[in-house]
């Protein structure tokens, strides 16, 4: 499977990374090189193998569904590039 320029543009958009049109051919070529390397995986017989989800057969821990932390709006907003009136602020969203 080779990635075309159009697909590279689509991937960049899905990843929300701006890529200039002029840079798309090089990006597509680079991604193709890496994907080619990954294609070795097709040599492996994986019939009947369950995909691994974790290294230890461990049930995800459970706890009481109660509030354990909170009331720190000021700390949470402290690093925001733009925060107003207790909210994160972003450019206008018009759909």
């Amino acid at each position: 499977m080779a990635i075309t320029e159009d697909e590279a543009r689509k991937v960049a958009h899905l990843a929300r990374i701006a890529v200039k049109d002029a840079d798309l051919p090089a990006l597509a070529q680079e991604l193709n090189g890496i994907l080619h390397f990954m294609e070795q995986l097709n040599e492996v017989d994986v019939d009947g193998v369950e995909p691994m989800t974790g290294v230890e057969p461990m049930r995800l821990k459970r706890r009481q569904d109660v509030v354990t932390d909170g009331e720190m709006q000021d700390l949470i907003l402290k690093n925001a590039p733009d925060a107003r009136e207790g909210f994160f602020a972003v450019p206008k969203v018009v759909e």
Binding site: M1, A15, V19, I34, L41, M52, T53, N79
Partner: protein
């Protein structure tokens, strides 16, 4: 006392307890060494005032008696650990200005034990790299050199490795997703331990690939790794993958007796084109363990060859999810926007100028392998191959092997800039001996064993059974003492 910064943790602990010197004196020696080592570019942020305060508090605790082993020990902290009120940027432009309002569990554990923070250590951006050249702070330089060429300290924990090798701290924290503790340790003649997945809490450590990431100690000696791991490890309710297992006394496991231990030599690790020197050193290391009473046997790990391609599907896939949080909204930098730019342009511009090329590459690869239509072909297939790689190890351990001996890296440290312009896959080959360990969640340690013919350090890796860090450290110490590696870089900086 001069040269206190050259001490190991164990020697400093003993000296502090005897009253030979204070933590403040030890800390000042490190701060002085750091000031004189600007050319190495290891520290991205120094915290001398905080260090002095912590050292004074440690001295009081030591004077009162009953202080833990790490009390008063000055450490460097990888930039990936969130430290409350101090820059924690994963060496990325996108976290410019970020000041965590909380402390990672690992660093909190170390401070609770009385350790002293000297500052933050540079690394490859978001821990993605093997040469430290992707750091937004510029590359770290290896204190080892043999000619005019500046060498890489390895990566991603390159600042940590360089700082330990150059005595700019007594030890440092590192993190390892595919070899990021063990490869830089091997390149700098230091000891680096990646614990079993789940042994050390990931809470507050900036995430790269959550099913592979694990923090560990980077030290001057195996005993120090045992002491420091004991202080870093804990059962942590804040990390759902933290194992519910008590933390043993790792130093007590260093009995020096390895008689009857069975060491496996995996034939698949004898790579085509591997240097004679590394091969010879591998043989010597096996001999050293045999002379100490271990039994050395040939083993097979048939899926080894597929570990790198599986890793380079799984790690970028997880990274693309984890790094989605850097959107210019909640923390870090936001790009300057043009008139009429909406929220999508804000995301795209922020991430384009905030992430370096290797991070962008991996986020996009991860996005691609997780996208509709390719999920099964790449991501699910890679997870199945991962299961087979783990099964190889399970089989070997079930057959009675206690640990596996391999080289840590395919070469000694290479020159900064040497990989520039090459295919990214060539850089990925640095992890060929180490990624299998992350995929299987096992503990692995790199121990310096010798110098190559140019005089650069080479390391060997020991891989242990899950949760057997104690047994692994005991074997590593046996190898360390048989190898008698005492070389230090001669000071040029």
């Amino acid at each position: 006392m001069s040269d206190l910064n050259r001490l190991t943790i164990s020697a400093a602990r003993d000296g502090l307890r005897k009253g030979d010197f204070t933590s403040l004196e030890l800390t000042e020696a490190c701060l002085g060494a750091i000031e004189a080592a600007g050319a190495l570019n290891a520290y991205s942020h120094k915290t001398p005032e905080k260090a002095r305060q912590m050292a004074e508090a440690a001295d009081q605790r030591i004077a009162a008696g009953d202080a833990p082993a790490m009390c008063g020990i000055p450490l460097g902290i990888k930039d990936l650990f969130c430290t409350k009120g101090f820059p924690s940027r994963a060496a990325s432009r996108i976290l410019d200005g970020f000041l965590p309002q909380y402390e990672s569990t690992v660093t909190q554990n170390l401070w609770d034990a009385g350790a002293v923070m000297l500052g933050k250590l540079s690394m490859d951006e978001f821990a993605m790299g093997s040469s430290n050249e992707s750091a937004c702070y510029g590359p770290v330089v290896n204190p080892w050199k043999v000619d005019d060429r500046p060498l890489t300290p390895g990566g991603s924990s390159g600042g940590s490795a360089a700082a330990v090798a150059a005595d700019l701290c007594l030890a440092a924290t590192g993190t390892d997703t595919g070899g990021s503790i063990r490869q830089p340790a091997a390149f700098t003649g230091t000891v680096g331990l990646k614990p079993t997945y789940g042994r050390v809490s990931r809470w507050g450590v900036i995430a790269f690939a959550s099913s592979l990431d694990q923090a560990g100690p980077m030290t001057k000696a195996v005993r120090d790794a045992a002491i420091m791991l004991g202080a870093m490890a804990s059962v942590d309710a804040k990390d759902s993958t933290s194992a519910e297992r008590p933390v043993p006394d790792y130093e007590a496991a260093l009995s020096g007796d390895i008689r009857g231990r069975r060491i496996g030599i995996p034939r698949e690790y004898r790579m085509e084109g591997m240097s004679d020197e590394i091969d010879a050193l591998w043989h010597q290391a096996a001999e050293m363990l045999r002379d100490a009473g271990a039994e050395v046997v040939d083993i097979t790990l048939p899926h080894t060859k597929y570990a790198l391609p599986a890793y380079y599907v799984i790690a970028p896939a997880e990274a693309s999810s984890n790094l989605a949080r850097y959107d210019g909204v909640r923390y870090g930098r936001r790009a300057t926007l043009g008139a009429g730019d909406g929220v999508v342009e804000m995301y795209e511009k922020t991430r384009a100028e905030g992430f370096g090329p290797e991070v962008q590459r991996r986020v996009m690869i991860g996005t691609y392998v997780l996208s509709a239509g390719f999920y099964d072909a790449y991501y699910n297939r890679a997870r199945k191959v991962r299961a087979l790689i783990k099964r190889d190890f399970d089989q070997v351990f079930a057959d009675g092997i206690d640990a596996i001996l391999t080289p840590a890296t395919p070469s000694a440290a290479f020159g900064l800039g040497e990989m520039a312009g090459k295919d990214p896959v060539e850089m990925y080959l640095n992890d060929v001996f180490t990624v299998t360990v992350n995929l299987a969640g096992l503990p692995g340690i790199s121990v310096p064993v010798g110098l190559d013919r140019r005089g650069l350090p080479l390391g060997m890796q020991l891989i242990g059974r899950p949760w057997d860090e104690g047994g692994l450290l005991n074997l590593a110490q046996s190898l360390e003492s048989a190898a008698g590696f005492t070389a230090k870089p001669s000071r040029w900086w």
